[in-house]
């Protein structure tokens, strides 16, 4: 048993060592402690019915307008005003059903693109008009990530509808395939 403990210790310590060193030198390395404070600056629980939509997210230090979380009621109002919805899920999920009229910009592919390519993908959308980003549900983060990618690309008024496709269909709101 002692030998096993020793082996596990060697495996574990070398994994920690290699992991931390490799992560430190890798260009794709991540922070040792995950920081979501920036992304969750707006508490979804506080998004009130019919929140003030004329107010945009604040312009942050990085030079883009921060996306703002909206409730399902707000999302529905915007939907009725023909605001553009963007579905961040993969193409096959989008094909199985999405919010009516939504464009599909799969986050996984979108985030790898250059700014020019991103703008090319979004060329039909006006930078100063509102865009609503969503994915499957509030435990899917792509709505947030996609919104930030779009905001960084220069879209000034991006909303995040966290409830996503799941909540939308549960409420029986318009969808299409």
């Amino acid at each position: 048993m002692n030998a096993t403990v020793k082996e596990v210790f060697i495996i574990l310590s070398s994994s920690i060592l290699i992991g931390i060193v490799a992560n430190a030198v890798s260009p794709k390395g991540i922070a040792l402690i995950r920081d979501d404070s920036n992304r969750y600056a707006i508490d979804t629980a506080n998004v009130k019915k019919g929140s003030d939509l004329n107010k945009r997210g604040k312009l942050n230090k990085a030079g883009f307008y921060e996306p703002v979380n909206i409730s399902v009621e707000t999302a529905k109002q915007l939907f009725e005003k023909n605001v553009k919805f963007v579905d961040g899920r993969d193409a096959n999920e989008y094909k199985e059903g999405h919010i009516k009229g939504a464009a599909n910009i799969p986050y996984k592919e979108f985030k790898e693109k250059t700014i020019e390519d991103k703008l090319g993908i979004m060329k039909d959308m006006d930078k100063d008009k509102m865009i609503v980003s969503y994915c499957s549900s509030d435990s899917c983060e792509m709505s947030i990530d996609n919104a930030y990618e779009m905001a960084k690309a220069g879209y000034n008024d991006v909303k995040i509808y966290l409830g996503g496709y799941k909540e939308w269909t549960r409420l029986g709101y318009p969808t299409e395939k």
């Binding site: 096993t4 290699i18 991540i30 983060e141 799941k166």
Partner: protein, 150 residues
């Protein structure tokens, strides 16, 4: 004779289990940010531990996997996998019980954000757990030098 078959069974199991973990580690190593998100989605670990896990677990899998396939530190690597598998299974079961919409982040990260079949993942991990348990117990006999080949 039965011992012989056991020996080959053991080698086969080592290669399979080690191979699965090596494969699983590569996808995670390619995109640790995504793996970190996958862990986050389980809502299982306190935030401060998530990235440490995302950094260390792929290497634990890779190193133990290579050792297990090569038959070096068989006890240590199989024990590491036992612990990892038990953690994974608990994480999957709690995610399933809470109805979380997760991608498991088990193998390739292609499915991040997609709903993957958690039950299937649990069954896969239980099978791996069974195989790893056999390796762990059997390799004890081999190491303890009491084994004779008669």
């Amino acid at each position: 004779m039965s011992f012989l078959s056991n020996k080959y069974l053991l080698i086969a199991l080592r290669i399979i289990v080690g191979g699965v973990f090596i494969y699983a580690s590569l996808g995670k190593l390619m995109d640790q940010e995504e793996f970190s998100k996958a862990i986050f989605n389980y809502k299982f670990l306190p935030d401060i531990f998530i990235n440490i896990f995302a950094i260390v677990i792929p290497y634990l899998e890779l190193i133990s996997g290579i050792l297990l396939v090569l038959g070096i530190f068989t006890r240590g690597s199989s024990f590491t996998f036992l612990v990892l598998l038990i953690i994974f299974i608990i994480a999957l079961i709690q995610a399933y019980a809470r109805g979380l919409d997760i991608s498991c982040g088990c193998f390739s990260l292609e499915t991040v954000g997609q709903k993957s079949d958690i039950l299937l993942r649990i069954i896969e991990d239980l099978l791996l757990l069974a195989a790893t348990t056999i390796i762990f117990i059997k390799s004890n006999n081999l190491n303890s030098k009491e084994t004779n080949y008669e």
